[in-house]
């Protein structure tokens, strides 16, 4: 029972971070038709931006994080849209896939060459230690990570569902033409989507890097898990990405402990294959209207 609870908490914490990356991924796909194979590297880059502000700029962690978010919005939001996503929108999905794979490689290699090919320690802004809960020892850090990531994800969900801007974004996601006809500023909504994604990956970076360590290949498995989460949950539903992320995180932790550590990486992939074959629109997704 102890073990079960500990795995549950650890799995939820990991899963909540997957969910953050997966939600950004899904939003980009829905609203902008952009499939971003560099999403993992998008989580890695803010970690190094933050280290840069701290070591070169001599800043304290929190101000450094604020500047990091700003840089992310500019680089991973605005510049990514203008320089790569916009010109690629004219071509087919395959082109987009290849180009963002190349972007991921470019980001990894840049960090490796310009910073270091070795892992770097990263400041931990969260409490370390453990929590005694009726005889069960739980990691305090995991709980905080889960609450922070899940809180942000739910907040985004509320924003999309309840605010005028959020609803406009969803309208663009559902049908661009109709959205334009009813007077929504489509380009602005698309830009906003890229910015939201940049914010999500920055927070994800802040949460995972203290334990995962800042390294150029930090995003590889994270990116893959985010894709899986997005598809399992439903590629056209941000809610789905949240559910998918938590599910994948739990599956990853439980299967490693109870089934087979050696085949640990296989289980999320098997889940992915089963979902794609039985319910290609994902657990919460609607059947795809868009033919790509």
């Amino acid at each position: 029972m102890d073990q079960f609870l500990q795995l549950l908490v650890a799995g939820l914490a990991t899963g909540a971070v997957y969910a953050l990356a997966a939600m950004g991924f899904t939003l980009l796909w829905q609203t902008a038709g952009t499939i971003n194979f560099a999403q993992g590297e998008f989580v890695m880059l803010p970690a190094f931006l933050m280290l840069g502000w701290m070591s070169l700029g001599g800043l304290e962690p929190w101000p450094a994080f604020a500047l990091t978010v700003l840089c992310s919005l500019l680089l991973l939001g605005l510049a990514f849209k203008r320089a790569l996503a916009d010109p690629l929108m004219r071509h087919d999905v395959l082109t987009m896939v290849i180009a963002t794979i190349a972007l991921g490689l470019f980001l990894k290699e840049s960090v490796k060459e310009l910073w270091s090919n070795e892992a770097q320690p990263f400041p931990d802004l969260l409490p370390v230690g453990s929590l005694q809960l009726g005889g069960v020892v739980l990691s305090l850090r995991d709980i905080v990570v889960f609450l922070a990531a899940a809180g942000l994800a739910l907040g985004l969900q509320l924003f999309l569902a309840r605010t005028r801007t959020g609803r406009s974004m969803q309208a663009v996601a559902q049908n661009r033409e109709v959205a334009r006809i009813v007077g929504i500023d489509v380009p602005r909504m698309v830009l906003l989507t890229f910015l939201v994604n940049a914010l999500l990956v920055s927070v994800a970076a802040l949460l995972v890097t203290p334990v995962y360590l800042a390294k150029f290949d930090l995003g590889e498995s994270l990116g893959l898990m985010a894709f899986i989460a997005a598809i399992v949950g439903g590629f056209n539903q941000t809610r789905g990405a949240l559910v998918g992320g938590l599910l994948v995180g739990l599956l990853d932790n439980f299967s490693a402990a109870y089934l087979s550590a050696a085949y640990r990486n296989a289980f999320p992939l098997l889940l992915l294959v089963v979902i794609i074959l039985l319910r290609p629109q994902g657990l919460l997704g609607r059947a795809e209207e868009r033919q790509v």
Binding site: D2, Q3, Q6, L7, A10, G11, A13, T14, K112, N117, E118, A119, Q120, P121, V128, G129, S130, V137, S139, R141, D142, V208, P210, V211, Y212, L213, K215, D217, L218, E220, S221, L222, D252, N253, F254, A256, A257, A261, A262, R264, N265
Partner: protein, 378 residues
Amino acid sequence: MRRTLAAAAVLVGLGAGGAGAQDSVLIADVIELSGGGATVGTNWKNGVDLAASRINAEGGILGRKVVVEHYDTQSNPAVSKAVLQKALDEDPFVVLGPIYSSSTKVNMVVTQRAEVPQIVGSEASDITEQGNPWVFRTSFGQAAGMPKLANYMRDGLGARTVDIVWVNNDFGKGGRDAMVAELEKRGIEVGADLSTEVQQVDFAPDVVQVRNSGADAVFVYLHEEESARFLKELRKQGYERPVIGETTLMNQKVIDLAGEAVEGVRGHVGLSADAPLESVAAMAEAYEKAFGAKTDHNGIKGYIALHIVKEIAERTGGFDRAAFGEALRGATITTADEPGVLMDVTFDEKGDIDRESFLVEVENGQQVITEVLPKLGG
């Protein structure tokens, strides 16, 4: 047109080289500079470069300048074979590296065929079991390190059951297999037996299992970065039993990365930048001055490797490869012969190395030697 383009590419690629001039001696260093082994490989490379600059400052080897060419294996056996071919085309005197055992196993066949001596940084047991007379180690094979550790777990810790966490590649699997055999011989049971991935970042489920296994200690056999992540996760979940490692776990890089979480970790170190020896401390200091980072045992291995080349070349009085191999097998090199080997070493007929080693514990971010273990050969 297309073909000529490709041809031009190949020709351009082959344009470099030609370092075989009479006043210099070429050493090829085939090593992991990118991919999973980049950390260990970079240390090794720096160690070799440091040794080369020192040897050259003192007049080179037999009056010839040492020229080291580095070739990146990308931590991939097929690439390592390709770049080794390239290195051999330049006709080097000796090949140094690689560290990853899978790459070494591909490469040693090629150097054997070319009859070029190769001094490797790998630890997998079977490398020196194949009767290849051209391959030599710079560090203990796993078959030498694990018995010492197993003894410590039985006698020092009184452990009955031990968990093993290992990385699922040939380095980790080889170490795990060697350790399991040694534990069995001593009647110690293996508790949780956990395989993990190279570049794995999330160790939560592994730590949960180790925490709940009820074993007396955990033996961790991972690469540096994964070690740091694992130790952080152990600390995060409040693990309090002994944590035991072999060389890498107490490595300086792990201490830098995991900080607090490495406190109290114990284990066996074949070579350590913190060995209580003046020679090693001086080398570590020079390394830090030259490269702005602390060396780990791989940096020392690279440094020693080139000095072994120097000493043996001088013993044979020339650059004959067959004579070099002949002279190195069974050789003992003391620090009086060649200070650059840092500690007295003895090679056996198979190419395995023997020297003193240490039991250490990490205290206040430093490796502290708790016991000096004598050479196996007495």
